[in-house]
C-alpha cells in the first residue's frame, strides 16, 4: 500500500528529526547559557540563521547545495538533516529560556550542599527546565510533522507525495486530500494528547 508506506516515512522522518534535533538543541541551549562569549556569539548566529530561514529553503539547501560541495545525501537524508537543524534551533532557544528562567538561588543552594556544576545541572536544573520546556517542545514536534510535507518537493515519498501519486492514478483529489489532512491532524492530536498526559504526570504539586 502506497499510502501506508508514505505514512511510515512521515513518521520516521518526524521522529528522527525531533529526536536528533532535540539532542542537538539541548547542547545549543547549554552553549547559549553557559558558554564563553565567543561560543555564545557563534551559537546565536546559528540559531538566528536557522530561525530566520524558511524551512523550505533549508530543505532545498541541504539537498542541492550540499551535493555541490561534495556531500552526497539521499533526498530522505537531506530532508531529515534540514528538519533536524530547524528543530535544534527551536529547542536551543527554549532550553536557553528555561534554564535562564530558573532562579539563581537554585544553583546557589545546590552549590551550598557541595554539588559540582554537573551534578547541579543533572539533578537540580535539568528536571526543572524539562518541565518548563515540555509544552513548547510538543509544539515544535507538531511543527516538524507539518514541515515534513515539504520533503515531497525533493522527491521523498512521504504521506503527502504518496497521496498525490494515488490521486494521479484515481483522480479522487478531494477524497484523498481530505484523508491525508485527517491523518496529519490525527498524528498531531496524538502528540499533543501524549504531551498533556506527560505534563500532568510530572507536574510539581
Amino acid at each position: 500500500m502506497n499510502l501506508l508506506d508514505g505514512l511510515g516515512d512521515t513518521i520516521l522522518i518526524s521522529v528522527s528529526s525531533v529526536v536528533l534535533g532535540t539532542i542537538l538543541g539541548v547542547f545549543v541551549g547549554l552553549a547559549m547559557t553557559y558558554g564563553q562569549r565567543w561560543l555564545r556569539f557563534i551559537v546565536r548566529l546559528y540559531i538566528d540563521f536557522l530561525r530566520g530561514t524558511p524551512v523550505f529553503v533549508l530543505i532545498l539547501a541541504c539537498f542541492y547545495v550540499l551535493s555541490v560541495v561534495g556531500v552526497d545525501l539521499t533526498a530522505f537524508q537531506a530532508g531529515v538533516l534540514a528538519l533536524t537543524l530547524f528543530c535544534s534551533s527551536h529547542v536551543g532557544e527554549i532550553v536557553r529560556g528555561a534554564l535562564s528562567a530558573i532562579a539563581v538561588g537554585q544553583t546557589e543552594a545546590a552549590k551550598s550542599i557541595g554539588l559540582t556544576f554537573m551534578q547541579t545541572f543533572v539533578y537540580v536544573l535539568l528536571p526543572q527546565a524539562l518541565r518548563q520546556i515540555l509544552p513548547t517542545w510538543v509544539n515544535t514536534a507538531t511543527e516538524i510533522v507539518k514541515a515534513s510535507t515539504l520533503l515531497s518537493i525533493i522527491g521523498v515519498v512521504e504521506l503527502l507525495l504518496a497521496t498525490q501519486q494515488v490521486i494521479a492514478r484515481t483522480y479522487l483529489s478531494l477524497e484523498f486530500y481530505l484523508f491525508a489532512g485527517f491523518v496529519y491532524f490525527l498524528l498531531n492530536f496524538v502528540i499533543e494528547q501524549a504531551g498533556r498526559a506527560v505534563e500532568r504526570r510530572i507536574s510539581i504539586p
Binding site: G105, Q106, K111, I113, G114, L115, Q119, V124, Q128, I204
Partner: protein, 255 residues
C-alpha cells in the same frame, strides 16, 4: 583550641565598588556570631565569601585550619582551586538562604537527601534515615513527603535548614533567614535556630532581628561600609554601644 573560622584581611569588590575593605574575624567552636548593620554594609557578602559563593580578591579564609578557595602557586600567584575542591570545601559549611531555595521538584525529604547521596556518597537508605532524623528535629517529620509548594514559608525554611545541617557542616551560615517570612511565621524558624545554638552549633548569622541576636549570640559584629565598625558581647553592643554610628543604627532598629 584552634579556631573553626579565621578571616583575615578580607577584601572584596564588585567591579569598582569595594564592599569589603579588610575584614578580620575569628570564631571558636560553638560561637554564635551575629552580623548586624544597615543594608549595603557588606554583611551578606561576607557570609557568602565564607562558603565561596562569592570570590574575593585579597585576604584569606581558613575553615577548620584549611585555607579555602585559593592557593598560592610556586611563583606566589593566587589561584582559584579547581571546582571539585571548591565544592568539597563548600560542603564544610551549611547555608540557609533568605529565599529558602528549596528544590521545587523534590519532596522535603528528597531535598535533604540529595546532598547526602551526591556529596557524601551515602547509601540511599542511610540518607533517608539521616534526613528523616533532621526533619524531625526541625519539626517537619510529618511533612517529609510534601513538596515545597505545599508548605508555608516557615515550613520551607525549616526544611532548608535541615537540608543544610544534615550535611554535618563545621559551621552554619544563616542569611537573613526570617526576612522573607510573614511575621507570624518568624518565631517557628527562630526557635529552630535557637535550638541549634543552644546545642553548640557554630553559627554565623546575618540578621535584622535585634532581639534574637541579643538573646542567642556569643558575639555581635556591627558592620558599616565594608568594615567591622564595632564588635563585642551582646550586652556591650546593645547595652553600651560605643560609637555614634552604632548608637544611631540601634536607635533606628526595633529592639
Amino acid at each position: 583550641m584552634s579556631p573553626i573560622l579565621t578571616i583575615s584581611g578580607l577584601h572584596k569588590s564588585f567591579g569598582e565598588l569595594e564592599v569589603l575593605k579588610g575584614i578580620d574575624l575569628t570564631m571558636q567552636q560553638g560561637d554564635v556570631v551575629s552580623l548586624i548593620g544597615s543594608s549595603g554594609s557588606g554583611k551578606t557578602t561576607l557570609l557568602r565569601c565564607v562558603n565561596l559563593l562569592e570570590d574575593f580578591e585579597k585576604g584569606s579564609i581558613e575553615l577548620a585550619g584549611q585555607k579555602i578557595g585559593y592557593r598560592e602557586d610556586g611563583a606566589g600567584q593566587r589561584r582559584r582551586l579547581p571546582e571539585r575542591e571548591v565544592a568539597r570545601q563548600r560542603s564544610m559549611t551549611g547555608m540557609a538562604f533568605q529565599q529558602f531555595n528549596l528544590f521545587p521538584h523534590m519532596t522535603a525529604i528528597r531535598n535533604v537527601m540529595l546532598g547526602l547521596i551526591k556529596t557524601k556518597n551515602m547509601p540511599k537508605d542511610e540518607a533517608r534515615e539521616v534526613a528523616q532524623k533532621w526533619l524531625e528535629r526541625v519539626g517537619m517529620a510529618a511533612r517529609s513527603d510534601h513538596y515545597p509548594g505545599q508548605l508555608s514559608g516557615g515550613q520551607q525554611q525549616r526544611v532548608a535548614i535541615a537540608r543544610a545541617i544534615a550535611m554535618n557542616p563545621q559551621i552554619m551560615l544563616f542569611d537573613e533567614v526570617t526576612s522573607a517570612l510573614d511575621p507570624e511565621l518568624v518565631a517557628e524558624v527562630l526557635a529552630v535556630v535557637r535550638d541549634l545554638a543552644v546545642e553548640g552549633m557554630t553559627m554565623l548569622l546575618v540578621t535584622h532581628e535585634m532581639r534574637f541576636a541579643r538573646d542567642v549570640s556569643t558575639k555581635v559584629v556591627f558592620m558599616h561600609q565594608g568594615r567591622i565598625h564595632e564588635e563585642g558581647t551582646p550586652d556591650e553592643i546593645f547595652g553600651a554601644p560605643k560609637t555614634e554610628r552604632l548608637q544611631g543604627f540601634l536607635a533606628n532598629s526595633e529592639i
